[in-house]
């Protein structure tokens, strides 16, 4: 109570301090107020969420763009969005020659530097039936570069074979024929003969040209049957010789590592996936402009037909639904088939710097 009185006394006496401030204070204050902008931006709590959202969106866009650029051809969506859905149209004969002259303005992406165009698909070969790692003749792991392998086959001695280069060179120096890859191929055929979905092992089943919807493909398919019989016989003999080795070949690297090359081709294809799944005798994939036909010759061989272009390929490696194949007539050419649930991806490799890629997408009409 007494303290309250003291407070009252002091509060009343505090008025003794009240006095008018100097005028100069207002003048200075007015100047400061004049310098202050009238439009004051008020920060609202939701602004931080909006800013965060913008930031995240920007970062995601940047990363997506970067990934799309890095991954290149594997993401077909971008190419399709850009309107390159029918770039698979190539004039008939001289397929690869035409590709070399393919106008750049029809390409999905600008040309990459030459050194980035090389395709690096390594085959890992395991000669032991109980392990999944690949070994060479001396038991060491070996990586084979598909593109380099192709080039090596076409160029003969001196080809680089990825990390297997030293082994191959050693073989060459000792006068050994460079057919180590062929051995791997045949062993792969032996191992995977039963599991092959795309290639039908039932060679007694006659190929029915009428099953093809493309009439122009039938003559080539008929011819291929005669050619394939002799090829199959030779291959069967090799398989018997290599039955005990049971080699396993698998493609180790992922398709995501592939680089887009200027001559990559993209297209929407009409295909009969059901017949593909049932491993019927041949399988048709057709673009809107030009038919592509994959004709199963049996014995893990197939014929690729595109208009006037025809080429036979033998299976050399398999991993799941991915198959690596080698041209029967041109050792520098390799073919890779990747069967997805609803699409088929086809790659053609030629030498080191050529990469033809076709993605077959089902189009329901």
């Amino acid at each position: 109570m007494k303290e309250d009185k003291l407070k009252d006394s002091l509060r009343m006496s505090a008025e003794a301090y009240n006095e008018k401030p100097p005028q100069i204070i207002w003048n200075e204050l007015e100047k400061r107020l004049d310098q202050k902008p009238n439009h004051v931006v008020t920060f609202h709590p939701w602004m931080k969420y909006a800013a965060s959202l913008l930031l995240v969106t920007g970062v995601v866009s940047l990363i997506s763009y970067q990934m799309g650029y890095d991954n290149g051809a594997q993401d077909m969506a971008m190419a399709e969005m850009a309107g390159f859905q029918d770039l698979a149209y190539v004039e008939n004969v001289g397929f690869y020659e035409k590709l070399d002259e393919f106008p750049s303005d029809r390409l999905a992406y600008p040309a990459l530097p030459r050194d980035k165009m090389q395709v690096r698909n390594y085959l890992r070969v395991n000669k032991s039936p109980h392990t999944n790692s690949m070994t060479d003749a001396s038991g060491e792991a070996v990586d084979l570069d598909l593109a380099s392998y192709s080039a090596g086959q076409s160029a003969g001695a001196g080809a680089t074979l990825g990390t297997n280069d030293a082994v191959q060179k050693s073989k060459l120096e000792h006068g050994e024929p460079d057919h180590g890859n062929v051995t791997q191929t045949d062993a792969e055929i032996t191992t995977l003969a039963d599991a092959n979905v795309l290639m039908d092992d039932d060679q007694s089943t006659p190929r029915d040209p009428s099953a093809s919807t493309e009439e122009e493909a039938a003559p080539e398919a008929q011819d291929a049957m005669h050619v394939s019989e002799s090829v199959d016989a030779a291959r069967s003999k090799k398989r018997q010789d290599l039955t005990s080795t049971s080699e396993m070949v698998e493609i180790v690297d992922d398709i995501r590592e592939e680089k887009l090359t200027p001559i990559s081709i993209y297209g929407k294809f009409r295909e009969d996936l059901e017949s593909f799944d049932r491993a019927q005798h041949h399988f048709i994939a057709k673009t809107t402009a030009m038919p592509w036909m994959i004709d199963n010759l049996g014995g893990n061989s197939l014929r690729l037909i595109n208009g006037g272009y025809t080429e036979n390929f033998d299976l050399i490696a398999l991993e799941g639904t991915r198959r690596a194949m080698k041209s029967q007539t041109d050792a520098s050419k390799m073919l890779e088939l990747i069967a997805g649930d609803d699409h088929l991806v086809l790659h053609i490799f030629e030498a080191e710097s050529t990469h033809v890629r076709v993605k077959l997408l089902p189009v329901k009409n």
């Binding site: 002091l10 006496s13 505090a14 204050l29 400061r32």
Partner: protein, 182 residues
């Protein structure tokens, strides 16, 4: 023009309303600064800064309390900030029970004395506590938070300030009786 109209104008940065508000409370608010800060120049600086904040942040005034109370709080805070910069020294005494004094002597003789002179004579720490506790009406807990000290320090400073006031009154010719000394 009413106070609410002045506030409305100030929120729109109307210079005339700002001037009206400034004039309306200038004396009292400047007096607050003078009570806390002994140096007049410092008081003017603090007042100027405080008024700038009042006029630029008047949108934050909710209107629930009195406008003067809101403005005075700004002035007090500005004054305390200035004192903190000068490293306000407050003696911390944990046990203040033996210092408890009867305020009756001060009350009886305070009117007769020059309170302003007495306040000016008090050390800054004492004067700050008297201003905050006795004049502004803050509690010791609030003062402790505002000054960053313990509650006991706030209490002990107040008691020491009162002792100093008694000494001042005695010096001014108001001797205490024996009963008041007890």
């Amino acid at each position: 023009m009413t106070e609410s109209e002045i506030i409305k104008g100030c929120k729109k940065q109307d210079r005339q309303c700002q001037r009206l508000l400034y004039d309306l409370y200038a004396e009292r608010l400047f007096g607050v600064c003078l009570r806390y800060l002994r140096d007049r120049q410092e008081a003017e600086d603090v007042y100027s800064e405080g008024m700038y904040k009042v006029l630029t942040k008047i949108k934050q005034y909710s209107g629930s309390g009195s406008l003067y109370g809101w403005m005075k709080r700004i002035m007090v805070n500005e004054s305390l900030m200035r004192l903190r910069k000068k490293k306000l020294q407050l003696q911390d005494i944990d046990d203040v029970s033996h210092l408890l004094e009867d305020d009756s002597y001060i009350e009886e003789n305070l009117f007769a004395a020059d309170i302003k002179a007495m306040m000016d004579e008090l050390p800054t720490g004492y004067r700050t506590i008297i201003n905050l506790y006795l004049i502004e009406g803050y509690k010791h807990r609030e003062i402790a938070e505002m000054l960053g000290i313990s509650i006991n320090t706030s209490k002990s400073q107040l008691i020491l300030a009162k002792k100093r006031m008694i000494q001042f009154l005695e010096r001014m010719g108001h001797p205490r009786t024996e009963s008041e000394k007890k």
